[in-house]
Symmetry: C2
């Protein structure tokens, strides 16, 4: 299959406007007499609000409204950005109010002020008098499940959010038959998304009483639903508009600020109110990546065959449910179609603690599990004295594999080729030889890690997408898609797909940038690396409908059967002769203006995609560890992806750059640090929170082995989240290779690395050598 536009390095359609500063984000819009909303946050990690007195705040000139839980509907709602389920047992957990009467973490929203400007709003916050009854708090997951632990959600019997797991095969048999059972415990930290644009929204009530919300979100249609649910309003009376979005990474796949900004406007008689989080607020009151503690018991045969995998996973979910149970499930699911285990038993325990809320973040549980599993496999290989690459390759699944739980089928599988490609790129064998007997302070090593990932959520959740195409008089088109551009480049890829099907150059495709739930075709949003795969299906469907309508007009004019016709570069041609029949513009003009046949060409359609495609990949890293400082430098890093046909290499490389950068931070420096005594976040800003900067980042290399995936509308599979899954374990395994120490906890920052080096005696040894 050859493509004309798909697969080409088309420039981002929104590139120029974004680099010139003309693109409009939520904060670039404003309404006349816009008010400012601010939130009073709990200073305590766990406390009952005994009393609130807002009298003084309300009396301040310029204050329009002060609201507390007393002023709002007593409706508990769920914030996770999932498609609604008609089956009540598949719904998210309704455990929060818009403003709470019980603080469950430092920063929990207690009251809100609406004022004419920010200064007055800040002043008013200080005038709100709150009497708290402070309760003992829990920060660690282990503490949450202790007997007599304080209960965070009083309506529940304990702090366990979910223990829903899975089991395939017969784990007891495999454990019995094992040559050896390997054990391992791996731990990941709580980290934050750090998208460039903080959560920001504004809202007003229109003259017909409908609530309008302009928000930086990944999921406008879901925001509509959840605001409706939180406020007890009919969903059709909520309208959500999404302008350009400056990143989300899953943090905006949660309905975090929209119910409150709507409530603020309602309290201010429908006037427009802006509620924009500061970076500090974004750190504490949005979502984090779950810290997990993963324990393995792995049954391996004598010949190094992986037999059974018994996993326990203790997941720290923070104060509210959000995506909790689902992320834990995903952690136990995404890796399943990778190695050919006979049996996998997965037992997660997701618990509430008095920490900021964990939710969706790029990889959705997979980076944690991949770090654990791929570290564990290297540990096993090392113990068995098998080459870690050969060990993995010997245990990989094969094309045609059917995941026993999801029933998703592996229809394309070139991970072995990816592994070979990465090995070659990083010069694995050469470096292995070279680094065999290192001495000195700085030691180098190479490591790798594999992953598998799904394309969307099928069959766990609904996968529907909508698209609309309108053809103009010159044959150019507008494309409206429900799938949400949040910076990843999806609009460009969808534009390529439409251009491909209709035979247009890309500059004749105008993708509608702003989403408005009133008119944008329905789509559940941007998450689960579903866009190119799921929404790609509907873009193709809509474009093929437009193409068919064009060819019907042409066929009616020239008498030839539609099958004999094609559209090539804006011309209708007779396929077999290559003969030009007329221009696409001729047909478009006829569709608009013919007195008899007039019928402008559009398509407005949806696709219910009841398939999945499993994508794969591998990271290779080379590191240098300074055993005197504990500093790890990543010298080279390669991600090689099995993501089917790549729609746009430039954009794909961009995904890898971003995902690997996130993986580097995850491996080496990022973690949210909490004061044990108070539960307060100590590093709530980008100075103290150690995000990787460009100075810390090596050249990030990517390669793609492209094999047509039959389930993809253009042979494509997922890529977006995939890129961030395997860097951390690859780096960890490279460090193991370099200095012989396996770090089972990330981040491997200089302090933790140095402590372990010291503990191991390596420094002393090193010192001796240098003498």
């Amino acid at each position: 299959m050859t493509f004309e536009v798909v697969g080409k390095n088309v420039n981002r359609l929104d590139g120029v406007e974004k680099v010139t500063g003309r693109a409009k984000y939520t904060d670039d819009f404003f309404e006349r007499d816009m008010l400012i909303g601010k939130v009073l946050r709990s200073p305590y990690a766990h406390a009952i609000v005994k009393n609130i007195d807002t009298t003084k705040a309300l009396a301040l000139e310029g204050v329009e409204a002060v609201i507390t839980y007393k002023d709002l509907p007593k409706i508990k709602f769920a914030t996770a950005g999932h498609p609604w389920s008609l089956d009540p047992s598949h719904r998210d957990i309704d455990d929060r109010l818009i403003l709470t009467d019980k603080a469950r973490f430092v920063g929990d929203a207690i009251a809100a002020v609406v004022a004419s400007d920010e200064l007055i709003a800040e002043k008013a916050l200080k005038l709100i008098e709150v009497e708290y009854e402070v309760l003992p708090h829990i920060l660690k997951a282990e503490d949450a499940i202790k007997e007599y632990a304080p209960i965070i959600h009083e309506e529940r019997p304990n702090n366990i959010l979910s223990t829903f797991g899975s089991e395939t095969g017969k784990i007891e048999d495999d454990m019995k038959n094992a040559h050896k059972i390997f054990k391992g415990v791996y731990e990941t930290s709580i980290v934050q998304h750090c998208h460039m644009e903080n959560h920001t929204a504004y809202s007003y009530v229109d003259s017909n009483g409908r609530i309008v919300i302009i928000s930086s979100t990944q999921i406008p249609h879901i925001v509509r639903r959840i605001v409706g649910q939180a406020l007890g309003m009919s969903w059709g009376n909520i309208r959500v508009i999404k302008p350009c979005v400056g990143g989300g990474f899953g943090n905006k796949q949660d309905v975090v600020i929209e119910p409150l900004v709507a409530a603020m406007s309602l309290a201010a008689h429908g006037k427009p109110v802006r509620y924009a989080l500061s970076r500090e607020e974004c750190f504490i009151d949005t979502r984090t990546r779950h810290g997990m503690k993963i324990k393995f018991n792995t049954a391996v045969s004598k010949d190094g065959k992986l037999l059974g995998l018994d996993i326990e996973n203790l997941v720290n979910n923070g104060a509210y449910a959000s995506h909790g149970h689902s992320v834990a499930m995903s952690a136990g699911g995404k890796f399943r179609p990778l190695y050919n285990f006979n049996s996998i038993k997965y037992s997660p325990t997701t618990v509430y603690t008095n920490l900021p809320v964990a939710g969706a973040m790029r990889g959705y549980g997979a980076p944690q599990m991949c770090f654990a599993l791929e570290s564990h496999l290297d540990d096993i290989a090392r113990e068995l004295n098998i080459d870690p690459i050969e060990f993995r390759k010997a245990n990989l699944i094969k094309e045609g594999y059917v995941d026993p739980l999801s029933k998703n089928v592996v229809r394309s599988f070139v991970l072995p080729e990816c592994i070979d490609k990465g090995k070659e790129l990083i010069k694995w064998d050469e470096k292995k030889r070279k680094y065999k007997n290192q001495k000195g302070d700085k030691r180098r090593g190479v490591g790798m890690a594999c992953f598998s990932y799904f394309s969307g959520t099928h069959p766990v959740a609904l996968e529907t997408a909508g698209a609309r195409i309108v053809m103009n008089q010159d044959g150019s088109i507008q494309l409206q898609i429900g799938a949400t551009e949040i910076g990843q480049g999806s609009d460009t890829v969808f534009g390529q797909m439409a251009a491909e099907c209709i035979g247009l150059p890309i500059d004749m495709v105008h993708v509608i940038e702003t989403h408005d739930t009133d008119i944008t075709p329905f789509d559940t949003g941007s998450y689960a690396s579903r866009q190119t795969f799921v929404a790609g299906a509907v873009v193709k469907k809509a474009a093929m409908e437009v193409r068919d309508k064009v060819l019907t007009f042409a066929s009616n004019n020239c008498g030839l059967n539609k099958d004999e016709l094609d559209i090539v570069n804006c011309e209708i041609i007779e396929k077999r002769l290559g003969r030009r029949i007329c221009s696409l513009e001729d047909i478009a003009m006829e569709s608009y203006y013919d007195r008899i046949k007039c019928c402008p060409i559009t398509s407005d359609t949806s696709a219910n995609v009841r398939m999945n495609a499993i994508a794969y990949g591998v990271t290779y890293a080379e590191v240098e560890v300074d055993i005197k400082t504990g500093e790890i430098e990543v010298l080279e890093i390669y991600n090689v992806h099995d993501s089917g046909i790549i729609m746009n290499h430039k954009l794909a490389e961009g995904q890898v750059d971003g995902g690997v950068s996130m993986g580097l931070g995850y491996a080496l420096s990022e973690q949210m640090l909490f004061d044990e005594k108070t539960g307060r976040l100590l590093n709530d800003n980008l100075l103290d929170y150690k995000l990787q900067t460009i100075m810390d980042t090596p050249t990030i290399n990517s390669a793609f082995i492209e094999k047509y995936e039959p389930a993809g509308s253009f042979g494509q599979k997922s890529l977006g989240e995939n890129t961030t899954v395997s860097p951390a374990p690859a780096i960890r395994n490279a460090v193991l290779d370099a200095i012989g120490i396996g770090f089972n906890k990330i981040p491997m920052n200089p302090q933790s690395v140095f402590e372990k080096i010291k503990e191991s005696g390596l420094v002393y040894e090193g010192e001796k050598e240098n003498v």
Copy 2:
């Protein structure tokens, strides 16, 4: 046929936002660093631009660009807001440039300045140095056709724009067979629309090089085309957005300012530029109603039967073609299906003069012809000593009549009933008796006049309309229609239609207010009283498609045939048993979230309406004429309409209020006065131009005789323009009745009335009585 929502007095959907000032018009939007565009206008009615020096203007700080015809494409284009025709012979006349090199009226646009603010722009205009070669000018139509008259458009052989007329029957035979041939000459003045919101627009070039125009227009999709044509750009690269519009009356059915505002932005490197006309500019450089001089030769039989009508019409079109030929044609066409003439010969001569451009205005030629014809008929009746009502009734066409030229069929006809109703309402017979032998200074009389009008332009032009409906999760819908709300209430009526078909209360229909050519379904715009009739057809089509999809879901669930099901007030019911099956919301939720059947319900469709429906009506007026001052007071006025089923009585009454008010001004006070020497407009503002105020206006009464029109989707016919057609001759005939003087020229302002009274000797006579 009974309706639940259609025909009800639903409040305007945009009512609250408009009375509270929250509705957003073009001037309520702005872009960062918006520039201001201003135009240098010719002080001469007819002059060649010999030289322009813009150096000084360009040098002024704050000036971004100065443009003249030299900077713009040399493309002549037409501005009339008609659907494009694939047949070149049916197109409008391309006779103008965006900026001209030859001034053809005082106010013609010579150069434009783009500056950072209005003051600087005004200053810069004064710094532009223009050298003119002044030519002799023509203001009167009679002068335009004289031999050796100066030629206004040098590429043409003379000043005649069009003489395209029509002939049905054999006029010579009827003239030969006539008992008597009546002659009459009637003349109307040039008037202006005076919509509340002047023409205003702003434009910028987006990052992909597409021109975006936000404009107060009746015809966004046509603006797109004409801007493309004027600038020589592909139409798909133009995007036009229409916010709320503060009236148009046909003046915004012309592409007046948009090509220039786009050119201004292009000259300013794509920055946003606002170009808003002042009231004074709006008077001179938009469009006017054509002044016409209509001559009749009317053949009448012995028994008062109208046999043949021979019409000459001299039409003053001003400086550019605009709608010229088309308005003249319409003047000769709209009245045809009213009286049962054997033959009608219509010979218009539309000429260029050096006056502001005449174009479309509510009634589109019909008010002129109706004034002439209905005055003429009263004159004939008077001479034949027949009651003017009986005279008309005896000559009316009958249901089933087929217009010999258009082939439009009269499928519903209750004008006779309207005539009777109006006669009764005004107490005609009683007043006729009472006013028989009046003496004194103030004399009263009653008069009436009939009209016929089309619903849209079929078969003259394409009549297509588009609509899109999106159903929300709660069963409420959004309705996007191409038909343009410009203040007339069409959005409300379309909302009612959709609600009717889908079984919704009106507050569950959300009509999308802003039009955007990128996504709004195609429609040629708001004109020709086509909206309710033509766009009504597509709203019904779309709503019935949505209804069908809902019932298909329901039928699949319950097993009953779709025909057995209905939607009543948001419930799906089994028709025959009246049994509730489920709620509409259940179906909508299923359409969004069912894992298998998911397929959100939408419709995106168009209708090519190849039909017309002829509407009728009559005005009755009672006046009191002060023969000492020449002042005419309208004491009572009634419009009775045959417009099929009325969709919304409140809105229909609003149309009558506005249309009759316009008719009152047309009859009594409005006229644009030009200085003969210079061609300059003397009354270019609302103080000197005598628009009727609320103080001048009697209670305007309306009545409707409703008969289902089979061609209308809900039995409806046109109404909007109709209301303004017959008031002027009704008033004129009432004056004739009061004082025995027939005014053959409007406006009948005190000066002209008094002059004629004096001339007639009536004042002297009156004086005697009083002694």
